[in-house]
Amino acid sequence: MISQRKIHKTINPAGSGESPGLSQKTALGNSKRFTEIPIDRRKRRMEFLAKSLFFLMTLLIVLPLITIMGYLFYKAFPVLSLEFLFSNPTNGMRAGGIWPAFLGTIYLVLISLLVSAPIGVLAAVYLNEYAQENWFTRMINLAVVNLAGVPSIVHALFGVGAFVLFADIGRSVLAASLTLAIMTLPVIIAATKEALGAVPMAFREACWNVGASRWQTIRKIVLPNSIGGILTGIILQVSRAAGETAPIMFTGAVFYKVISEGDFFAYGLFDQCMALSMHLFTISTQVPGVPEAISYGTAVVLLGTVLLVNMLAIVVRVYLRSRKKW
């Protein structure tokens, strides 16, 4: 706790040479009303310096970002086209397109979403609507936070140990998707919890008072009015799942696989697949002699997809905020 007196002392230290401002009537009394005395001018200068310093720091974060993005796009430009997206890589991945990787990422994201969305939403419903405030609930919340902090490579090891080996699914789209699902679960839980918490308690009480059960209340009032936040969480999950490499590296993604171009059903659940993130890793580190444009092109497609999905989440959030029902 910082007392008033301490604040006063630090702001107007005694013996600073110039008039300490507040308690000195003479300085204020003598000079013309409301013009600056020297200490005020010094304070203003410091204020300006501080503001500029922090602004500069922020700029130094933002500017490199924009320059890097621009540079990536510039280098990728020659290769970016629909054909790039929908054709197979050729010549040992040194030419052609990225279709198998693109489709693979779509599969992985959709299947992991099918698993993590219901579990995540219901887990958040439990935490926000049913759980009592006791040590067990605290443990669950702790587990969610820790799940969020597990390094991605450890998720990969888990995926190998649990799905590939123990459950004997083998390296497959299914195993990789399940691994991704567990990785993105905390995102959905956190976003849903926040959305549920924004619904006023008064609504729930009004429902309980007319004889509705907890689940009826949740189903009819709470969930429909949290859908915005839930959607945001799910969309964020999508972007994270699309970008991850480590969890899928050993659980189902492969360097190279040719599939029928333009066929959206080319992969089976137990097949191995390519993925955009994995592909970028492969052609930048494992394959020599890949033309620059193709690597940059892959990076841009991946980055663009992820950023677009995130922007979608932001737009959804802003739109729903404007349609508030209370």
Binding site: I2, I7, T10, K51, G120, P151, L157
Partner: protein, 297 residues
């Protein structure tokens, strides 16, 4: 009372059971992760591993035909060096930005910055690794006249850019959480913004800011792809930022593919996973306890 109502009332306990199950799923998964990772390496741990040598020897030669050694000290040094460098950059810039966004910014600019920070956070780690491999690599070679650009410096800068969003967003939250009464008291006494920040806000928010830094550290320690691609492949204790290193995470990613299943090498890699899990678990736990501390005030 209609039949449909009766049906609803009967299925409700089932639905609530499913909800409860999902609720405890997080605990199940966390334990599950630890269990399954530990399981793969358990054999080696209990039979042949010399834990002291494991943790203190810098000699990592898992594939040597004659003399296999499994010391991870150099790998730990790799992780530590990159993380420390990253934090040295990310903490001041991240906190500076947090202060700027929360104290000096107009609302419109604030929205814009927050969106940019969010987008920065969304960039996949493999893309960051790619940036390290290409753009950063060239910059370092040119700028420092270095023989190679895949170094501690490269990884450190990339990690810093990756950790900044966490520090900024949590830092900004903690500054926002400082009670308005503190601000009003300082302003009433004629404090400038800088004095307000330095003398009042920072001390008051220090718990949250500390948590922000800890979470940034946890992120940096656990990062895999970016450091795999940006720090090079030398397994040695670095003596300068221009040395190449290998982190714990990168080692697993680089070598798991080639280690035969259930071989010693394979199991040791899983044990490194256990080590990583434990470290990040405790860092996250500490940060969470600190955050709980402020929320209870």
């Amino acid at each position: 009372m209609t039949n449909r109502y009766r049906l609803e009332m009967l299925t409700e306990p089932i639905i609530e059971g499913v909800i409860r199950l999902c609720g405890i799923s997080a605990i199940i998964f966390v334990f599950g992760i630890f269990f399954f990772v530990f399981r793969e390496g358990a054999d080696f741990l209990f039979s042949k591993l010399d834990i002291v040598e494991f943790l203190t020897s810098p000699e990592w030669y898992p594939t040597s035909v004659s003399h296999k050694r499994y010391g991870v000290l150099a790998l730990i040094a790799g992780t530590v060096s990159v993380t420390v460098l990253a934090m040295m950059i990310a903490v001041p810039f991240g906190l500076g930005s947090a202060i700027f966004v929360s104290e000096f910014c107009s609302p419109k600019l604030k929205e814009a910055f927050k969106i940019i920070i969010e987008l920065l956070a969304a960039i996949p780690s493999v893309v960051w690794g790619f940036i390290g491999l290409t753009i950063m690599n060239e910059l370092i070679i040119d700028g420092f006249d270095a023989p190679i650009g895949l170094t501690v410096l490269n990884g450190g800068i990339i990690l810093a850019l990756m950790s900044v969003p966490i520090i900024v967003s949590i830092g900004e939250d903690s500054l926002k959480a400082v009670p308005d009464s503190y601000r009003e008291a300082a302003e009433a006494l004629g404090a400038t913004r800088w004095q307000l920040i330095y003398r009042v806000l920072l001390p008051a928010a220090k718990n949250g800011l500390l948590a922000a830094v800890l979470l940034g550290i946890a992120r940096a320690i656990g990062e895999t792809m970016a450091v795999l691609m940006a720090t090079g492949h030398a397994v040695k204790i670095p003596t300068s930022p221009l040395d190449s290193v290998r982190t714990l995470t990168a080692t697993i990613a680089a070598e798991l593919g080639e280690a035969p299943v259930n071989s010693d090498h394979y199991q040791v890699l899983f044990l490194i996973g256990v080590l990583l899990f434990t470290i990040t678990f405790f860092v996250n736990l500490t940060a969470d306890l600190i955050v709980k501390g402020i929320r209870q005030k």
